[in-house]
Symmetry: D2
Amino acid sequence: MVRVAIIGQGYVASIFAVGLERIKAGELGYYGVPLANELPIKVEDIQIVVSYDVDKTKIGLPLSEIVQRYWKGNVPESLQEIYVRKGVHLRSLRNLPIEATGLEDEMTLKEAVDHLVEEWKKYKVEVFLNVPTTEAFVPFGKLDELEKAIKENNKDRLTATQVYAYAAAQYAKEVGGAAFVNAIPTLIANDPAFVELAKENNLVIFGDDGATGATPLTADILGHLAQRNRHVLDIAQFNIGGNTDFLALTDKERNKSKEYTKSSVVEDILGYDAPHFIKPTGYLEPLGDKKFIAMHIEYISFNGAHDELIITGRINDSPALAGLLVDLARLGKMAVERKAFGTVYEVNAFYMKNPGPREAKNIPRIIAYEKLRQWAGLPPRYL
Amino acid sequence: MVRVAIIGQGYVASIFAVGLERIKAGELGYYGVPLANELPIKVEDIQIVVSYDVDKTKIGLPLSEIVQRYWKGNVPESLQEIYVRKGVHLRSLRNLPIEATGLEDEMTLKEAVDHLVEEWKKYKVEVFLNVPTTEAFVPFGKLDELEKAIKENNKDRLTATQVYAYAAAQYAKEVGGAAFVNAIPTLIANDPAFVELAKENNLVIFGDDGATGATPLTADILGHLAQRNRHVLDIAQFNIGGNTDFLALTDKERNKSKEYTKSSVVEDILGYDAPHFIKPTGYLEPLGDKKFIAMHIEYISFNGAHDELIITGRINDSPALAGLLVDLARLGKMAVERKAFGTVYEVNAFYMKNPGPREAKNIPRIIAYEKLRQWAGLPPRYL
Amino acid sequence: MVRVAIIGQGYVASIFAVGLERIKAGELGYYGVPLANELPIKVEDIQIVVSYDVDKTKIGLPLSEIVQRYWKGNVPESLQEIYVRKGVHLRSLRNLPIEATGLEDEMTLKEAVDHLVEEWKKYKVEVFLNVPTTEAFVPFGKLDELEKAIKENNKDRLTATQVYAYAAAQYAKEVGGAAFVNAIPTLIANDPAFVELAKENNLVIFGDDGATGATPLTADILGHLAQRNRHVLDIAQFNIGGNTDFLALTDKERNKSKEYTKSSVVEDILGYDAPHFIKPTGYLEPLGDKKFIAMHIEYISFNGAHDELIITGRINDSPALAGLLVDLARLGKMAVERKAFGTVYEVNAFYMKNPGPREAKNIPRIIAYEKLRQWAGLPPRYL
Amino acid sequence: MVRVAIIGQGYVASIFAVGLERIKAGELGYYGVPLANELPIKVEDIQIVVSYDVDKTKIGLPLSEIVQRYWKGNVPESLQEIYVRKGVHLRSLRNLPIEATGLEDEMTLKEAVDHLVEEWKKYKVEVFLNVPTTEAFVPFGKLDELEKAIKENNKDRLTATQVYAYAAAQYAKEVGGAAFVNAIPTLIANDPAFVELAKENNLVIFGDDGATGATPLTADILGHLAQRNRHVLDIAQFNIGGNTDFLALTDKERNKSKEYTKSSVVEDILGYDAPHFIKPTGYLEPLGDKKFIAMHIEYISFNGAHDELIITGRINDSPALAGLLVDLARLGKMAVERKAFGTVYEVNAFYMKNPGPREAKNIPRIIAYEKLRQWAGLPPRYL
Ligand SMILES: NC(=O)c1ccc[n+]([C@@H]2O[C@H](COP(=O)([O-])OP(=O)(O)OC[C@H]3O[C@@H](n4cnc5c(N)ncnc54)[C@H](O)[C@@H]3O)[C@@H](O)[C@H]2O)c1
Ligand SMILES: NC(=O)c1ccc[n+]([C@@H]2O[C@H](COP(=O)([O-])OP(=O)(O)OC[C@H]3O[C@@H](n4cnc5c(N)ncnc54)[C@H](O)[C@@H]3O)[C@@H](O)[C@H]2O)c1
Ligand SMILES: NC(=O)c1ccc[n+]([C@@H]2O[C@H](COP(=O)([O-])OP(=O)(O)OC[C@H]3O[C@@H](n4cnc5c(N)ncnc54)[C@H](O)[C@@H]3O)[C@@H](O)[C@H]2O)c1
Ligand SMILES: NC(=O)c1ccc[n+]([C@@H]2O[C@H](COP(=O)([O-])OP(=O)(O)OC[C@H]3O[C@@H](n4cnc5c(N)ncnc54)[C@H](O)[C@@H]3O)[C@@H](O)[C@H]2O)c1
Ligand SMILES: [Mg+2]
Ligand SMILES: [Mg+2]
Ligand SMILES: [Mg+2]
Ligand SMILES: [Mg+2]
């Protein structure tokens, strides 16, 4: 059994909840779940116990009602028993057409942290899946600065994810262990402050920013070119989508966060910083969750030959991350059992756009996958 | 030093010759050569000593003249001293607008084999790079059938590549070791008859069919999808090109050879035989050596979501293989030094579309690359 | 009212029937019908009265049952009253995994023609929509040769479409007028024998080969380039699909018919025969009716600049033609009313890949559309 | 003879100059010049007499030196005699890494206008080709407001193009006629103030924003879909390029101008405002003048079928516009001769992204081309 708390009951979390329950009900196979049912902990062992949000129209409702905004098929009955509770917002929904409310409207951040810890004890949470709206943030670097911001109730300095991760550490200390999966761009596994905090408090952190869609594909294609010693001249890549997350990214500050994590892949894999334009570019509402991706790569091959590759695609955004979460919830529990507190590169390298810790590098996902299997105690697949 | 004999002085071999000499002259870096200059044997150590062809307009000429048909830049002077000699043809140029002549017009195949062995002794050949026109062929399977065909001068049963490989084995036996790199689809490393022959005669075989262009890219993209447990619904892939090799493939029999090697990749990597249409489709003369490739892949992601990827590209065909040959020549010599007679999967898995031996499977190239480095005694790159 | 007989109750005809009835039922707008409801004859006036096929599993069944093979939604009730009757086959289903039976198995072709004419009188057919399987055919050129073939019961010389068109002419003569819409590649509107026959017998012919998918798009893109005087260097275009029509085209003879009509567009529009590879290439069953198209065009712009365009798409094959048939049925009746016997270039130029008569040329469809509107008595749209 | 003054001696103007002289020298055909040599005024009759710029490193130099920054081939000797003179800048190069100087640094705008008029009289200019850097601008609407801004030396209100167009009108009045071709997004032909000014002063205006690359292609593809009554669901289109013009567009204000003119095409042609994201997105220096374009269109076809088209391309940006200028220079002179003062829709509709006058609409270019030919007295091509 893995007892999971969701943070941010939006598109990704809703598809995660629906897909998980459909698998349990035997309606679906394990497609989109990288490790399928190979792990000692089974997909069917995952149980969502509670969810958090700050959208006024979601708080207090059961998941069965919320997922209908994102999923037109039959809603699994089991979702009627899981409720959305109030989290902290801290500008999370700024500039979005959504009315927000958060615990910090009624209490200090320190009190909110304590409040959350108490709730989590009641729900016996083992793993947190953090998928709220993309945030504009500033990393901390030093643990004492983070602690100071909490103590001083510094609402301008902290983002919701930073507060959740901090609270998760307090909780882990009290209950002896927990895992926090940060699937959004806010630096947590890449922020030494949080890694130190995690190590000291029996928290496992996975992060940052779930690797779905064009970025891990780029990683593998660049790996492919690098291995042939083809010299990449330039890379243009963009996404256009119509879900709320793309809408949120029209906000310049948030967009910057994404750009940061998406670009690190180029130099990490090629070994040089090929000129690139890699951005989640645009919002086009009718595309919905099925984004349009386009990528153009030019390179030099043997004897100076000039080649080019163009990749386009239509990719469902939320299922891609939701499928990874099915693994991450289980790997989170496994890491706690192994007492692998702090962050785990072997997991991050495959599942995350910006694998922590800070000094860690991106590698082709095809390689990362084998390292992951090894960490998870599974036999190699291709190696 | 690696003393190399070329078989088939066409586009690939000419770009190989020009690029190699330009590297030696300091005009070019190592782009397109996968292992660059990391191997103990240096790129600059490769020396082409002789070349074979059956095109009447090429036999007897120095490479410096021939490469001008394929390369418009300055021709390296060093190519003036390498000459093209007469090989065996055996229907190689059938249906092509080229007049052929071969040793078998004047002698039996057995005599031709002996004749070649004598020439090679004179040139002190260490590695053969086999890049003649794609052949229609039937593999042998059993070594005695191969030996019988040679003995009986069975010109209908044997292809030129089969005769060259047979001759290379005789030569290797006499001189104590040699390597035969089969970069074309004819099954050699995948034909147990030849692998047995090679083991018995101190021959190293690499093969079959150099992995360039869309096929290894497909391998890596399928690996990428498989690792996320995405279920591939269908794959359509085609190439259109304008070089003589594409012209040769308009011949149905030859085309079948290519199709065979290109398709094995799907089941090997996915673990199931996703429906696919993978063919070198068409000849369009003005495209020249820069082929157009297109690939369409549909797959199922988490919660039943339906995604699709489209990849198109313009890729210079011949430089892609020529760059691999720069490695293969050196690895061939290394394998001889290590007495790794027979065939070497670790090399084939990265460089070949249809890696021998027969029972061996395709794996993602990104993985194969690391195995190759290990075999070659190089430190891992991403692993 | 337009009373329509269908010939070939396959994918196209079934989507035509379903879509038409759904429009009548108010379930659908006029999307995909070029002239929407602008014509004096309304979409709702079209009535399918009978259908012909030679597939043993279809003959005798109501359309309501047959369309379920192609359409998963609700089946309009009105289709329960339309039945499939036996046609002539003449090798139409050769090499396909379908058992065929035809009138010619029981009588001579002349008798079959008379038999059909009698049936059609009973159904009071006004327009024939000819959409059977693509045929391998030889055009007649001279009317007396056609008449001779019928008289001599020459089953090897005639195709089913040629017999149907001949019968339609006999029928038109007797009833004073009818229209035959040939939406398949067999040359009818482009065969002077049939045009002469039509003129003499009060028959209107539209044809040949419905212009859907990549071909008319190519026409417009080439028109676009031609108008800027860009010099097209080469064109590669291919389709891969999974419906029975693509399966039929794996038969070499049939494929040739398609190629013929698809290629004429290049020289007609550019004014020179740019090198091209335009073929309905491959069959990949899981693609179903939604084909994958890819097109690559290179051209020279001002001051010798070298540009390229790549177009890919996923296009539902059958609805594209079915939507055109909704117009063609009505235009057919209008042409009969105007006594425009023979063939009508203004209609063909927009709707057909190979617009008859034989000497007529392809023009950009965007232009053809305005000519069509003019012929149909509609105000210009953009002109 | 047509005596041409260039305004903005950048990439477009330099390729125009080189290409024109190469045509005169017989080195090139008329590729990329829509009307080739069909007009009564011949390509060879065009003569560049003077050029204007505000880049300090260009003023005073002969074109032969400047074009070397953009063109690596042989420079036509004739360009040694054409010199670049100082224009007005008015923030034109704001935020760009170029040092600017303009007449307004030394005199009032009114004086600058008079100064230019005097120079133009000396050079006997007949047609102005306006191709300076894209401007951030506010249209005038009312002529008296424009005149007031000039009189009051209002440097914040006016852009350089507005001043040049104003000066051209003064000049035209004095010499009896001239043409001003506005190939940049600043509204001139679409600003009633300028159209009125032009009519009163014997000036012909063509504009606004040369239609090259993805926009006119979109127009034709949308026309193609509209004519089949396919219902467009959404359109995503973006360009990534590496020339100075793309760099200039990273400036938000300027980018807005482009967006404005590029988007009008959708509603004009479809008749409804399909959701779209059409933007010149990004700057990637290594792409140089050869931009990468990508377009994705989804639409509904018959019976509710859902289709999609993806178009990508590599297109040389500057030659595309330069080729149009070869026509526009000649058409400008023709319009003056015909006294077609004000603006000429028939010309604008084909050559301009935002064809003036203000109330005029975009139509498919394939149609516009035929209207243009008619206006120019040429026989129809496809009509
Ligand atoms: N493929 C992918 O979809 C993908 C990949 C990588 C990362 N991500 C990240 O996942 C996150 C979620 O994406 P989504 O598509 O589900 O977005 P979404 O907008 O549909 O859902 C976000 C949800 O979080 C809630 N929320 C916002 N602030 C909150 C807070 N402070 N506390 C609790 N809940 C809060 C919102 O109300 C909303 O319900 C985004 O940050 C995105 O960057 C997604
Ligand atoms: N990327 C690639 O180009 C690539 C990739 C994999 C495999 N290959 C294979 O490489 C081979 C060569 O390709 P290419 O583009 O250079 O073709 P090519 O047609 O330009 O050259 C082939 C040369 O071989 C010669 N030849 C033919 N039969 C011969 C014989 N029996 N003995 C000696 N010479 C003979 C021909 O005369 C010609 O000079 C082809 O078989 C092709 O399948 C190429
Ligand atoms: N976009 C398009 O789908 C498109 C475009 C242009 C032309 N066409 C043409 O339309 C035709 C039909 O396409 P489809 O996708 O419906 O194919 P299909 O295979 O689904 O249907 C053809 C039907 O015709 C029947 N048939 C075969 N021979 C016959 C005969 N002699 N008499 C009566 N019926 C006969 C078959 O049994 C089958 O039911 C093809 O010839 C194709 O070339 C299709
Ligand atoms: N396909 C195309 O390239 C295309 C299409 C449509 C419109 N345009 C427009 O054409 C213009 C020129 O494009 P380009 O690629 O040549 O750009 P560019 O940056 O290469 O050249 C612009 C030139 O104008 C000069 N300039 C700037 N302000 C000036 C002023 N006030 N007076 C005189 N000269 C001035 C600059 O110094 C530079 O030399 C741009 O406005 C662009 O929007 C280009
Ligand atoms: Mg990191
Ligand atoms: Mg094998
Ligand atoms: Mg014709
Ligand atoms: Mg306008």
